[in-house]
């Protein structure tokens, strides 16, 4: 086993075993099905000509030369990765660090007659090596006692980003990336060049996609939606909470927003349109319309049965609201109260009729006051007629109040 850097391989003269000079190594090709990538073929430049050696059978990688056993000829497989062209100097995702980094060099090893790419150099020494001044600078740093460590990430922890134009069909596209939390994927997408964003996006399943889009900065959200087909965009938006969709659509131009709304489910689009009517910085503009409300005259047991059926998300289940037949808010039941109550007790006897609520037209500031004063996780939102129209959830309030920078970009 013998370690080396890819930049040191490029430009090396290549010989056959008999000592015939072929040319200089230009690029290497690896299959994208293999992890880590194993170099299968090499590209050699021989003067003005470019020679492709398929299934390169490498005898030895020496200090100044590369020696091939014999040259095979077989068709070029389709799903290939050109190391120099697709990976070197490009952006790559550091899955552990959850950020986008630039490839300065690649760490390779020569093992059982194969060159294998084992790591990505994203450090300063990689840049120095490429500039051809690594040794003198390292020597200088040693003299001056300045630490200059390598910064190499193992291949297991990186995810190359390939632009869609290359039409590479990755076997398991962005497998490592997809295992990250949507909020981390969102940060990574924001850091990518705009054309690579859609490549990553298309590899995600619809639910992850929706969750990720929700976490992305507004200006990037708009950019992504604008570059999608209407069908694709409306499918994703339907998987997102109505208040988030309303925020995004408000940033789009009106005509485009209208078209997307038309493609959506009628009920969803009505709800979104309603939310879009609210002025910025009002409770209505940031409330969630996914809440759980029950009539007053069902029993605790019936309520619990229904909850099992609905399977609400954790955000929705902080409190259950009780509404009369005209949807007026008349009470609130906490999950705790519900669970400890005897099964045949009616909701109206368990509920607390003194509900703390805000109006949809109230300002965000009033809302934060209510939340902090009463230590609530969620506050019901009513309109002027006391009809329950939504819920303001603490997560969304924190985003709105403490991350104003995110919103300011738009």
């Amino acid at each position: 086993m013998q370690d080396m850097f890819f930049s040191q391989l490029v430009g090396k003269p290549v010989f056959t075993q008999q000592g015939t000079y072929i040319g200089k190594l230009k690029d290497a090709i690896a299959s994208i099905y293999k992890e880590p990538p194993i170099v299968t073929s090499i590209v050699i430049s021989a003067g003005p000509k470019v020679i492709l050696v398929l299934d390169a059978d490498i005898n030895a990688v020496k200090k100044d030369t590369i020696i091939l056993n014999k040259i095979h000829h077989s068709p070029l497989p389709e799903d290939i990765l050109y190391i120099a062209q697709d990976i070197m100097d490009k952006q790559i995702v550091d899955v552990n660090g959850r950020k986008v980094v630039r490839v300065n060099d690649l760490k390779a090893t020569f093992i059982s007659q194969k060159i294998v790419i084992i790591g990505v150099d994203i450090g300063f020494s990689g840049l120095l090596r490429r500039l051809g001044i690594e040794r003198p600078i390292k020597f200088l740093c040693k003299l001056l006692h300045i630490p200059l460590g390598d910064n190499i990430i193992a291949w297991d922890n990186v995810e190359p980003i390939v632009s869609e134009e290359r039409h590479l069909k990755l076997a398991v596209p962005y497998k490592k990336l997809r295992q990250l939390h949507p909020a981390d994927i969102a940060d990574i997408i924001e850091d990518l060049d705009s054309h690579y964003r859609s490549a990553v996006f298309h590899a995600l399943d619809e639910q992850t996609l929706a969750d990720t889009l929700e976490e992305i900065e507004p200006d990037v959200q708009v950019n992504i939606i604008e570059n999608m087909s209407e069908e694709e965009a409306s499918n994703i938006l339907e998987n997102m909470p109505a208040d988030e969709v309303a925020d995004i659509l408000e940033e789009l131009d009106e005509e485009h927003a209208q078209k997307l709304l038309e493609r959506m489910d009628k009920e969803d689009s009505e709800e979104i349109k309603g939310l879009m009517e609210y002025e910025d910085k009002t409770v209505g503009s940031m409330m969630s319309t996914d809440f759980i409300a029950f009539p007053p005259d069902i029993t605790a047991q019936q309520t619990i049965d229904q909850l099992r059926l609905i399977q609400p998300s954790p955000d929705e289940a902080y409190y259950l609201y009780v509404i009369d037949k005209d949807e007026h808010l008349i009470g609130v039941v906490s999950l705790r109260d519900l669970v400890v109550a005897p099964p045949d007790r009616l909701l109206k006897d368990i509920m607390d009729p003194n509900v703390i609520y805000v109006r949809d037209t109230d300002g965000i500031y009033d809302l934060t006051e209510v939340v902090t004063k009463y230590d609530l996780l969620a506050v019901p939102v009513v309109d002027d007629d006391m009809v329950l129209v939504g819920v303001a959830i603490i997560n969304d309030i924190i985003d709105e109040v403490f991350l104003p920078r995110r919103r300011k970009h738009a």
């Binding site: 630039r102 490429r130 500039l131 060049d193 705009s194 054309h195 990037v220």
Partner: protein, 412 residues
């Protein structure tokens, strides 16, 4: 309620229509150094350089359009592309070029700040350190964008050159003759002013700035046609303003043999229009333009360099997360301010020298751009057309030749 909001959006839209990235980039090119160089050209050479401005408009259109198109097709900034297509060594060279050119421009912006405030009797030893600190803080705190409009408004005052140009009653037949009939004087003064004019009109940093803003806005080739118009319009507007600055100083100063040695002299050319207010109008205009560019330049330079080498960048980072970015930004401001403070050169000469340095370096960046825009694997069907390549290469060769001639005559 809803109507009000819609209306507000509409207004923003109209505003954006007028001020696209192309127009912003091109008119930001008319900064302190630009104004001073054009004013000197008019005062010293009268109309003799008008033809160059006319021809350079075509070069500027071509070059800016190349940058914008690259941004739209690839979705990447110019420094990213250079890194990805040419590797580390070429990137190092390109970034060294950009850094040198931008140190020069930043210096000239601080010289502009000093010169404009001298009109209000504030010494450069006060104005430069104070403004450097203010700009540094405003940008780092992220509050710059909120006050930017003030400086934009100030710099709009310089549009009065257009009116002044008319009111100075130039000899229009002479103007027309010089616009379409090239004249060259074979001496170092003429050639230096020429290289400076090229450098300030087609500055390297404008191309980086324009391409990044197109890429960051996520404009794709599908909706590129509007950006294209914006870019072309921007180049034309910038050169029309340059044209009128030359025209007004040529008509107001040249006949009296006044050359430009301080901002006061350049302000004289506004007299036909604003009378005794000339120093105030000019001072505020120059101040606004200088501060604006002094805030944008060090920042965009740091972004470009960090992106090329893959270092963390962005104002929302902490210092520990993006040390190179913040150090570069700070160092640029310090160098720029210090050169102005400790140089014994006239402020206007500092500004001219900065533009000359840009003129010398711009062919380097143009060659990179030409190689990229002709790369079919990168640009697909949107590679340069033949006419683009011809105009761009002529610009490159012409600028290099001018530089060589300038040095030949300088040391003869």
């Amino acid at each position: 309620m809803k109507l009000k909001k819609k209306l507000a959006n509409k207004q923003v839209l109209v505003f954006l229509t007028i001020l696209g990235p192309g127009i912003i980039a091109a008119s930001a090119g008319n900064d302190a150094g630009g104004i001073t160089t054009y004013a000197m050209v008019g005062a010293e050479l009268q109309y003799k350089m008008l033809w160059a401005i006319f021809l350079m408009t075509f070069s500027l259109i071509i070059v800016q359009e190349m940058a914008a198109r690259m941004g739209a097709v690839t979705g990447k900034g110019l420094s990213d592309l250079i890194r990805e297509q040419f590797g580390v060594k070429s990137t190092f060279f390109a970034m060294l070029t950009l850094f040198t050119a931008n140190v020069a421009v930043t210096t000239s912006e601080f010289a502009g700040i000093a010169a404009s405030l001298e009109l209000f009797n504030i010494s450069k030893y006060v104005s430069v350190p104070v403004m450097a600190l203010i700009i540094w803080l405003l940008v780092l705190k992220g509050t710059y964008q909120t006050v930017e409009k003030v400086f934009i408004a100030f710099s709009m005052l310089l549009l009065s050159y257009i009116v002044a140009g008319f009111m100075a009653k130039p000899d229009w037949s002479e103007v027309a003759r010089h616009t379409f009939m090239p004249t060259v004087e074979w001496n170092s003064n003429f050639l230096t002013l020429f290289v400076g004019t090229v450098g300030t009109t087609i500055a390297p940093w404008m191309q980086f700035y324009l391409q990044s803003s197109i890429a960051d806005k996520g404009i794709t080739i599908k909706n590129y046609s509007y950006e294209r118009i914006d870019t072309i319009l921007g180049a034309i507007v910038a050169d029309v303003i340059a044209f009128f600055i030359i025209l007004s100083t040529a008509s107001a100063l040249y006949p009296h043999g006044i050359t430009i040695e301080s901002a006061k002299d350049a302000a004289l050319a506004l007299k036909p229009f604003v009378g005794t207010y000339a120093p105030i109008v000019f001072g505020m205009g120059l101040f606004g333009a200088s501060v604006m560019a002094a805030a944008i330049l060090p920042l965009s330079t740091s972004y470009a360099i960090c992106e090329a080498f893959g270092w963390e960048s962005g104002l929302d980072n902490k210092f520990e997360d993006a040390p190179v970015f913040f150090i570069l930004y700070t160092v640029l401001i310090i160098i720029g301010a210090c050169i102005v403070l400790f140089s014994s050169q006239l402020l206007v000469h500092i500004m001219l020298i900065a533009q000359v340095i840009n003129g010398i370096l711009v062919p380097v960046i143009l060659i990179y751009m030409l190689k990229l825009t002709n790369n079919r694997r990168l640009m697909g069907e949107y590679v340069n057309s033949a006419i683009y390549n011809i105009i761009a290469w002529v610009t490159v060769i012409f600028t290099i030749a001018l530089t060589v001639l300038m040095f030949v005559f300088m040391f003869r």
